[in-house]
């Protein structure tokens, strides 16, 4: 049986760590550099704005551009996608009395909730298991929340640089001193086009990586500085759609079971979410653990299949799909957290560091809280009596004292137990929750997603044929993500191009954006993998499943607005 991890991509960490190359007077100097304008990075920038206002004497030492935030998407929010039912703790602590929850771009408090176990034709309601209870949480479009937070960060003096990818980590004498941004205007072969613009060295005393799931430089930093946690990180892939609907939905819904299979040999862990977004919109998504084994599994097509369930078809009846997107979610939890969460000159936060509570399907509040704590640590580096080393180290202590740590500790073994199959895993997970993590099932072994031996079944024959109304193919979905990436640019996806057929099949089915196609077969039974990189919505699944996503030209990828 093939494993994708036996066919590693042409990629080396050394390629993406460099010393600054621009002459000293051409480097762009900033005080604190934040990579990623998501909830973590923007919370960091907002908190820094508050600290600068409160400490004008320290602020002077941050220089002309005290805080810069790099964003690879067209604008903040373009690459943000989540459910999202958000635990308000992070936002409340960040924004304090300045904003009430009602002042944020929210769709309101969770009104009520239901959980169903599905079979093909039935839906059995079950009482919401403790981790799924969402009383007191708020419904958001994370993309919209990102745009709101970006405005607050700019009010606080942060410089946000959209359409700018962070390509290389700049390191000098064992410390991170900033990042190099990606070139723009190269053609497919790497040659310079008329509008070529070379990247720049951005140097800073402290760099905060808040790149989100599958962060490119985060991966590089984990290897370069030996920060990997006890367990390898693992991921789930979520694909979701936003619908305009004829009738309002009066509750949030989670489902378990169908269309996923419960047999242990398939390792299919996941579920769906259906949330109202005001009176006339609904979002529906399916999340599946990427430790699945079946090369014919396609989360996008399973989501299409899910929508044909009578219960769900009724919710969407008379409606119209208005948006689509996909993203991975780190699910390794506590044992996969980087250790420590810092390196010289560098801090890691949010999804990039894997701060997600998988049983609760929540991470936005951890991203915000960790961004806030990273801001405080980074700011300390500029205070008298502090050394940069003691300042960044204080971040680890702050995270350990926060709700991030205690929450993730409580559910530390929850994800792995589902390797036992859905029902056994479900029972163990419930026991762990009810006991607040005191039921020890022992630390379970974790394997990288790409190590799972592949099997091939015929499950893809049951995927519904797209009708363009309820069910959609991948290409029209990529269109609905707003993706209009320039085709004539270098390929940003690193994979081994000649692999056994089942590995190629796995990639082709896995990718929700139809980036991979199975090409010509060779005499030895391997096939060539053909790529359409401009379809890529940068979900990150390929990095989990044996390849490596690097950032394409800044401004590429989806342009999410309501996801």
């Amino acid at each position: 049986m093939s494993r994708a991890s036996n066919f590693p991509p042409p990629f080396s960490t050394a390629e993406f760590v460099a010393e600054p190359t621009d002459p000293a007077d051409e480097r762009i100097e900033v005080g604190i550099l934040v990579v990623g304008a998501g909830p973590a990075g923007l919370a960091c920038a907002i908190r820094l704005g508050q600290l600068i206002e409160e400490n004008p004497d320290v602020a002077e030492r941050l220089g002309e551009v005290p805080v810069a935030v790099l964003e690879k998407g067209k604008q903040p929010g373009s690459h943000l996608l989540s459910g999202a039912v958000v635990d308000p703790r992070g936002l409340r602590r960040l924004l304090g009395s300045r904003y009430r929850m009602e002042d944020l771009p929210t769709f309101g408090l969770v009104p009520a909730e239901s959980v169903y176990v599905l079979t093909r034709h039935t839906a059995l309601p079950i009482p919401p298991p403790p981790p799924m209870r969402n009383h007191g949480n708020w419904i958001f479009s994370l993309s919209q929340l990102g745009r709101f937070l970006a405005e607050r960060a700019e009010e606080g003096g942060a410089l946000i640089l959209p359409e700018t990818s962070a390509q290389k980590l700049l390191a000098l004498h064992g410390r991170v001193v900033g990042v190099r941004t990606g070139d723009k205007g190269r053609n497919r072969d790497g040659g310079e086009l008329g509008n070529f613009e070379a990247g720049s060295d951005l140097v800073a005393k402290v760099t905060v990586l808040a790149e989100g799931t599958q962060g490119h430089l985060t991966g590089v930093a984990l290897d370069r500085f030996g920060l990997r946690g006890d367990d390898p990180q693992v991921w789930e892939l979520g694909v979701k759609e936003v619908w305009k609907v004829a009738r309002p939905l009066d509750r949030i819904i989670h489902t378990l079971g169908w269309p996923l299979r419960t047999g242990k040999r398939y390792r299919e862990f996941g579920g769906s979410f259906i949330y109202p977004m005001g009176e006339d919109m609904v979002t529906i998504g399916l999340v599946v653990g990427l430790d699945y084994r079946d090369a014919s599994l396609s989360v996008h097509d399973l989501l299409q299949e899910l929508k044909t369930h009578p219960k769900i078809r009724r919710i969407l009846a008379g409606g119209e799909r208005v948006a689509w997107g996909a993203k991975t979610i780190p699910s390794g939890g506590f044992h996969a957290l980087p250790s420590p969460l810092h390196a010289p000159g560098l801090l890691l936060c949010g999804d990039a560091a894997g701060m997600v509570n998988i049983p609760r399907l929540k991470g936005v509040h951890y991203a915000i809280e960790s961004g806030r704590l990273a801001a405080e640590a980074a700011f300390r580096a500029f205070q008298r009596g502090e050394t940069p080393a003691s300042a960044v180290a204080s971040y680890d202590a702050a995270v350990r004292d926060s709700f991030i740590w205690s929450d993730l500790y409580e559910v530390r073994n929850m994800r792995q137990v589902f390797g036992h199959g859905f029902f056994v895993g479900g029972a163990l997970a419930s026991a762990m929750t009810v006991s607040k993590g005191r039921v020890e099932v022992g630390k379970l072994p974790a394997e990288p997603d790409a190590d799972q031996p592949l099997l091939v079944t015929d499950r893809d024959v049951s995927y519904p044929a797209p009708d363009g109304k309820l069910t959609f193919d991948k290409l029209s979905s990529v269109f609905a993500s707003g993706n209009k990436t320039r085709d004539d640019q270098p390929n940003h996806i690193r994979i081994e191009r000649r692999v056994p057929k089942e590995v190629a099949q796995m990639w082709a089915h896995m990718c929700p954006a139809q980036v991979y196609e199975i090409g010509a077969e060779d005499a030895d039974g391997t096939v060539r993998v053909e790529l359409a990189p401009s379809n890529c919505v940068q979900c990150g699944a390929i990095t989990a499943k044996g390849g490596r996503l690097t950032p394409p030209e800044g401004g590429s990828g989806p342009e999410y607005t309501v996801t």
Binding site: L475, S476, F479, G482, R486, D487, E530, A532, S534
Partner: protein, 318 residues
């Protein structure tokens, strides 16, 4: 309403799109044209397409090469006498329009596909949300600046002899700083460019191999048209990027669009859906392209295309 239309010409040939915009302007009000870098010999053709007055800016060598700033200087001097200045989309026109907007501090609506007068006000039509809806746009400032998509209007011959006026050109210092050193054409092609062609024969993955693009080329030649390609085949290196039609390629609207082996993904559709007549040949009866074709042929294009080419040649007697 008084319109000034930028009549773009290269080596004495007008860009068809700008003639289309002129014809449209003439149907709405008084339309004048401005031609830069050429002599008055071209004026009659603009008159035919509806221009009452043709402003000719020639006589200075700096005006001949297709550089935007000298053109901005010329038009900025004329613009105050007009309610609107209109452009047909091209690389040069986009540069000139943007420069003019900055110079005059006037609003520019771009990517328009139509324009009309509503109660004496100019209203533009602009596709939005990936061409799924058409929005109406207006202007707060004068003159109203507008840039129209390729093929938005057909050139119509309606007018007569125009009055020719020479423009006294005052170039700004900075406008003469850029010199044209060399002009290179990346991809030589015979026949019309795909933006200008009345007929486009486009090939997709259904052609089977790069060599089979000759099927599309032969048919295009017989029809007097240009060859287009889908993103998939450009990605695969079968055909140059300059021929790519679709969301991330060119947007075209020829009178006749023949799609050979093209499935019709929405990314392709948005680049050609405003074509006059769409003919699709595809062996897959479920291909989405049949949903928006005027004529669909389910069959093997390798058999059909050569026969079609022969028939067209026979009919044309060539």
């Amino acid at each position: 309403m008084r319109f000034l239309v930028f009549a773009e010409q290269h080596e004495g040939e007008f860009v068809k799109n700008s003639l289309g915009v002129l014809s449209k302007a003439a149907s709405l009000g008084d339309a004048d044209a401005v031609v830069v870098g050429a002599d008055a010999g071209l004026a009659p053709e603009l008159g035919k397409h509806g221009a009452k007055v043709v402003h000719v800016a020639a006589g200075d060598d700096t005006l001949a090469p297709p550089l935007p700033q000298p053109r901005v200087d010329v038009i900025a001097g004329l613009a105050p006498d007009y309610d609107a200045v209109l452009f047909g989309q091209s690389v040069l026109a986009a540069d000139v329009a943007a420069g003019l907007a900055a110079r005059l501090d006037a609003g520019l609506n771009w990517d328009l596909v139509d324009v009309e007068l509503q109660d004496g006000e100019l209203v533009g039509k602009r596709p939005a949300l990936q061409d799924s809806v058409l929005v109406e746009v207006g202007w707060k400032s004068t003159p109203a600046l507008a840039l129209f998509r390729s093929g938005a209007f057909d050139p119509k011959e309606s007018g007569g002899e125009p009055e020719v006026r020479d423009v006294d050109v005052q170039l700004e210092d900075f406008s003469t700083k850029v010199k044209m050193v060399e002009q290179a054409h990346a991809e030589e092609s015979s026949g019309p460019s795909i933006e200008d062609a009345d007929v486009i024969v486009a090939g997709g993955r259904g052609l089977g191999s790069p060599d089979n693009f000759t099927l599309a080329e032969d048919l295009a030649k017989a029809l007097g048209g240009a060859v287009g390609a889908t993103r998939a085949v450009v990605d695969a290196g079968w055909y140059p990027y300059s021929a790519q039609i679709g969301q991330t390629g060119k947007t075209v609207s020829p009178k006749l669009y023949v799609a050979l082996g093209i499935s019709g993904a929405i990314q392709h559709k948005v680049g050609m859906q405003s074509s006059g007549t769409i003919v699709a040949i595809n062996k897959d009866p479920n291909a989405p392209i049949f949903e928006f074709s005027d004529l669909g042929v389910v069959g093997d294009l390798h058999e059909i295309a050569p026969k079609l080419t022969e028939l067209v040649r026979a009919r044309k007697g060539s």
